[in-house]
């Protein structure tokens, strides 16, 4: 009896060992498979979370055994009914289904039956809880949404703010990115406005009739911007901030300065630089660089072209190519504007003889006037400098002696020919009424010497000048 039990014990140990080895082997194989799948998946993500090796992967068929039956629901705490049915066809058509992801790779806590208790107060609460599951694989995008205006609203308790599944769906998540180019697929672009319209329907209706929206919806043109091209995708910012406003011209310029895109439709790519060159755009650009959160009433693109209901500029009803249509926009800030006023804005034209010829000719005038003035002045000043320098150096060479001697006869003259100033005003040479007499004392006269000398030297350069007789009049020196 004892030997039998000992044999049984050894046998059991062997079975457990073999069993655990096989289990471990399969578990590692499964891990390898998931890693392969991740690398095939081009969405740049961290590797899929390690499906705990202790728990074997529950196949989707197991889940669908119950959840594949229509009508499976659960009642939430507030009495709302949460549908638990998953259409197997819808799931297998989704990007996750195509790539062969298992239900429990998202619903990690539901691998066992009975499932742990799920206590959501209402349907929205259930969505908000379940949307956290996306973070496990798509944490990059998930983190971006934390910076979005949607998350800001969520954080202050507005539960309706969009989360992942509101836009992407849950079991029917579609492929939106081209795995090769990592760009949004053209057909996915077409459905973006409709996605946003689930909440923002009023804006969608405006967009729908705009030049962009109509092309997207009616012509399936994927060149035109959808909501996300201006508002961003996951980190959608608040478009009512001053920062967004100041940055908005750059948004529009993203496409409207792209020649490959604009040439297809014959649209000018000069719209940004002509805007920036004009005073409105200049100020907006300046503020955007220097104080991006500054409030300004200076118009940005959408103040004239509208925000969502942007129409063609040559649209007869709303196009701002028509001055009377533009005047309406002008009057928002310039209430006194009259019919001539809109043409004060150069309508993105670069001044030419045909458009804004006055500006063109003013500019042309200065193109010639500035060099002419500058040239004339530089020539005269330069020649004057040169002449003075030449005269000074020549004088320095030839007249070092004479300058000192020249003072001599003058002082003689002063002392001999001219009576002292104290001799009485009547004896002095007559002074005209508007000539003033300034008597400088010794020190001052010393200060005044150098200019006199240079002056006299200059006079020597010009022998024709008959200033020899005048010179003595200039100073009257006395002891």
């Amino acid at each position: 009896m004892r030997s039998v039990s000992r044999h049984l014990f050894l046998y059991l140990i062997g079975v457990i060992l073999i069993g655990s080895i096989t289990v471990l082997h399969f578990a590692t194989e499964a891990n390898a498979a998931t890693i392969e799948q991740t690398s095939q998946n081009n969405i740049q993500q961290q590797g899929l979370p390690n499906v705990t090796s202790a728990e074997p992967i529950v196949s989707n068929d197991t889940c669908l055994g119950c959840h594949g039956q229509p009508g499976l629901t659960m009642t939430l705490l507030n009495g709302e009914i949460l549908g638990l049915y998953v259409n197997p066809d819808v799931y297998s058509a989704s990007i996750h289904g195509k790539d062969g992801y298992a239900c429990v790779q998202c619903h990690t806590n539901l691998g066992e039956y009975p499932h742990p208790l799920f206590t959501a107060t209402n349907l929205r609460d259930a969505t908000l809880r379940l949307t956290n599951l996306c973070d496990r694989c798509h944490s990059g995008e998930y983190n971006l949404t934390m910076d979005s205006v949607h998350y800001d609203k969520l954080a202050i308790g507005i539960k309706e703010a969009a989360v992942c599944t509101d836009c992407h769906g849950s079991h029917d998540v579609r492929q939106w990115i081209d795995p090769k180019t990592l760009e949004i697929l053209p057909e996915a672009r077409l459905s973006i406005p409709a996605t946003c319209s689930k909440c923002h329907n009023a804006i969608y209706q405006k967009y729908r009739t705009s030049v962009h929206g109509a092309a997207l919806t009616d012509e399936a043109n994927s060149d035109v911007p959808t909501c996300i091209d201006c508002h961003g995708v996951h980190n959608i910012g608040n478009p009512t901030t001053a920062e967004f406003r100041l940055k908005s011209p750059e948004l529009c310029a993203g496409c409207h300065t792209n020649p490959t895109l604009m040439d297809k439709y014959g649209i000018s790519t000069n719209v940004l630089n002509t805007y920036v060159a004009d005073f409105h755009g200049t100020t907006v650009t300046l503020f955007q660089k220097q104080s991006p959160d500054a409030q300004t009433n200076k118009p940005v693109c959408y103040d004239c072209h509208s925000v969502h209901d942007i129409s063609r500029v040559d649209d007869p009803k709303t196009g701002i190519d028509m001055q009377q249509n533009l005047l309406v926009r002008c009057k928002v800030c310039h209430p006194d504007a009259t019919s001539n006023f809109p043409s004060a804005w150069m309508s993105h034209y670069i001044p030419s003889p045909d458009h804004y010829s006055l500006v063109y000719y003013v500019n042309l005038f200065y193109k010639f006037f500035i060099p002419a003035v500058l040239g004339f002045m530089l020539a005269m000043v330069g020649l004057d400098v040169g002449h003075t320098a030449y005269v000074k150096t020549r004088r320095g060479k030839h007249h070092l002696q004479p300058t000192s001697t020249e003072v001599q006869p003058e002082t003689e003259l002063e002392s001999s020919t001219l009576p002292p100033a104290s001799a009485g005003s009547g004896d002095q040479p007559a002074q005209p009424e508007n000539i003033e007499i300034k008597l400088a004392r010794g020190e001052q006269s010393e200060l005044n010497k150098p200019p006199e000398q240079s002056d006299q030297a200059e006079n020597k350069e010009q022998p024709q000048k008959d200033d020899q007789s005048e010179n003595p009049d200039e100073q009257v020196t006395r002891e």
């Binding site: 220097q290 804004y356 006055l358 002449h387 009424e433 200019p451 100073q475």
Partner: protein, 247 residues
């Protein structure tokens, strides 16, 4: 005889030199120049950062809408002061013309063209003698008339920019961008002109502070305004009135 330096303090030990000074600018003209100088300086200091708004130095100055607003307000107030000054200047000229009292010294004549030509010949050593100038030589006339028209353009275009909605009631809208173009470009021309032409002639060529002091000494009078000097001396010599000298 506005500027007298009586020899009351002279003592026999100190040699005293008699320097004749000639009145050149009246108090009104001197204060006009001072106000004009201040206005132009403020307008350029507040205007040029707005023109060169893409440069980093300008963006460091105009860093916020509040700062820009301040700059524009200073610019506008100074522009009003300058406009008032111009009106005063023109009003005075009209008053003097009406009374047949306007001294025509500043009016450009054909002689100025000849003077400029002769000066050029003198500077390139073809002529040995500088042309003789009257009260205002051609260089000073160029300065005055250049600034006269610059300021005219600046004031007109400035007010067009300031009140676009009023202007466009009478004139086509294209006047506004034209005025903006003229205003900012003319400012550059004026700046270059003042620095290169005016500063050279009053600071570097010789330090001429007569616009501040009001008088010019005899040496400068003689060498730069010999015609006027001769005229004054001649006039003084012809109608001799010894009692006039009060020294």
């Amino acid at each position: 005889m506005t500027n007298q330096h009586p020899p009351s303090s002279t003592s026999p030990d100190h040699p005293v030199r008699l320097v004749r000074t000639f009145p050149r600018f009246s108090v009104s003209q001197r204060s006009e120049h001072a106000v004009f100088l201040l206005c132009i300086a403020i307008l350029l200091l507040t205007g040029l950062p707005q023109k060169f708004n893409t440069s980093t130095w300008s963006q460091a100055i105009i860093s916020s809408p509040a700062r820009l607003n301040l700059f524009q307000q200073i610019h506008h107030i100074t522009a009003l002061v300058l406009s008032a000054l111009v009106l005063y200047h023109l009003g005075k000229a009209i008053y003097l013309i009406a009374r047949r009292k306007l001294p025509g010294d500043m009016l450009p004549t054909f002689q100025d063209v000849k003077d400029a030509w002769n000066m050029l010949l003198y500077l390139i050593f073809i002529k040995k003698q500088k042309p003789a100038f009257g009260k205002f030589n051609f260089e000073q006339k160029v300065t005055y008339w250049f600034l006269f028209f610059s300021v005219g353009i600046m004031i007109v275009s400035g007010f067009i920019m300031w009140f676009p909605d009023v202007v466009t009631r009478l004139l086509p809208g294209g006047v506004i961008p034209g005025a903006i173009m003229a205003h900012s470009t003319e400012a550059i021309v004026t700046t270059i002109f003042v620095i290169l032409w005016h500063f050279y002639h009053v600071h570097l060529e010789r330090l001429n502070l007569s616009i501040f002091s009001g008088w010019l000494n005899e040496e400068d009078m003689h060498s730069y305004h010999s015609l006027e000097y001769d005229q004054l001396i001649h006039k003084a010599n012809t109608d001799q009135d010894p009692g006039e000298i009060k020294s």
